[in-house]
């Protein structure tokens, strides 16, 4: 296990944010686009984890990134080099507001609409479901069932365990074994293709 210590101004995100804040509003389009490409996939991951919906995650990504760049353009961030901390706070706030239903996504999108290029934002690839099915079928029954019950609706170990008469710890052990085998099998299939 390793960790990384960097001064915010030493990170690429921090440098880009400082450039955007220093330029006339919208004056450094290249830095804006680069910051968007860098941070947008990370915000989408946050949305996938906390909203459990790809479309909602995509909306979150657009809202938070537009809000961030708007704030940088307006010089409204005291420490633009700490842009990642701002983005994290914006993610948390936006998701909480969605949970509470206090603000509709259309309002946010309209409020922070921007003309930042987003076409080349990284998207995680989808797997061939036939290949996944073949690999699942190779697993022992118990591991396969635990993976189906866990991932069909993204359920935690405690919920899956309750439905199978197993402890959460036991489910995690079975799940860990099963997904490790599934990952290796799918990878092997991709390399062979």
């Amino acid at each position: 296990m390793t960790s990384v210590d960097l001064a915010p101004a030493d990170t690429l995100e921090g440098q880009l944010a400082v450039r955007i804040a220093a330029a006339a509003p919208g004056g450094d389009a290249a830095a804006e686009a680069q910051l968007y490409r860098l941070l947008a996939p990370r915000v989408r991951r946050y949305g996938q984890r906390h909203l459990r919906d790809d479309h909602a995650a995509e909306d979150l990504m657009q809202q938070v990134m537009a809000m961030t760049i708007e704030k940088l353009r307006a010089g409204a961030l005291d420490e633009p080099q700490r842009v990642v901390s701002f983005v994290l706070g914006a993610c948390r706030m936006t998701v909480m507001e969605q949970y509470r239903g206090q603000r509709r996504r259309e309002e946010l999108l309209e409020r922070f609409a921007l003309d930042v290029p987003i076409a080349d934002v990284h998207v995680a690839p989808r797997l061939d479901h036939e290949r996944v099915a073949t690999c699942l079928e190779r697993l022992p029954e118990r591991e396969r069932a635990v993976l189906v019950l866990s991932f069909y609706e993204d359920q935690p170990a405690e919920v899956v365990g309750r439905s199978l008469g197993l402890s959460a710890g036991n489910v995690r052990v079975i799940r860990h074994r099963g997904i490790g085998k599934l990952r290796r099998c799918v990878d092997a299939g991709r390399r062979a293709a």
Partner: protein
């Protein structure tokens, strides 16, 4: 200085995705993923695997033991589920419709005290052969076993009979606890 949390390992990211991390660990990983693209790529891989499992199961490609709760939720989501329930020693006539999305057999069985459960399938079109599913997960208190079948495979089969024996396995050996017969008819089931 910006100190990022240590890189979470694969298992920690799986736990994070499935909601098995506590609030502090979840926040730490949230923050780490906003700073670390290497871990983000691993996270993407987990999300892709999760989607792959979901897609494969949704398309009826994965035979699996299921729970009544999951089947109920699949039905509630609007998916077309065909179920055949059968008591111990019982039989049922069955078929699959073209628009069925999940085929489930529900076998009521005396599961209390069973340590390991195996299922032995015999098909009338392959006399002398049997297919064995070992160590099926089950809830002893539920009193039934639910199995999802591969739809595409079942659709290709001719009319036939399937005998399913449930076996309790322990140190003393194995014993049959219930037997069922499925009379499968090729073609569309009656409405």
């Amino acid at each position: 200085m910006t100190r990022t949390a240590p890189h979470p390992d694969w298992q920690a990211l799986v736990d994070y995705w499935l909601g098995d991390t506590d609030a502090a660990a979840t926040e730490a990983i949230d923050e780490h993923l906003l700073r670390c693209d290497d871990c983000g790529a691993v996270f993407d891989e987990i999300v892709a695997l999760a989607r792959g499992v979901r897609d494969a199961f949704s398309r009826g490609l994965v035979p699996s033991a299921l729970t009544p709760d999951l089947v109920a939720r699949v039905k509630a989501s609007g998916r077309r589920v065909r179920e055949y329930a059968v008591p111990p020693g019982g039989s049922v006539h069955c078929a699959v419709a073209p628009d069925d999305e999940l085929l489930v057999s529900r076998m009521r069985a005396p599961l209390a005290g069973v340590r390991r459960l195996d299922a032995l399938f015999s098909f009338s079109f392959a006399p002398g052969e049997a297919q064995r599913l070992q160590d099926l997960p089950f809830d002893p208190e539920a009193g039934e076993l639910l199995l999802a079948h591969k739809l595409a495979e079942v659709r290709r089969l001719p009319s036939h009979d399937v005998t399913l024996r449930l076996l309790s396995v322990d140190d003393a050996g194995e014993r049959e606890i219930a037997r069922y017969t499925f009379h499968h008819r090729a073609g569309t089931p009656p409405a």
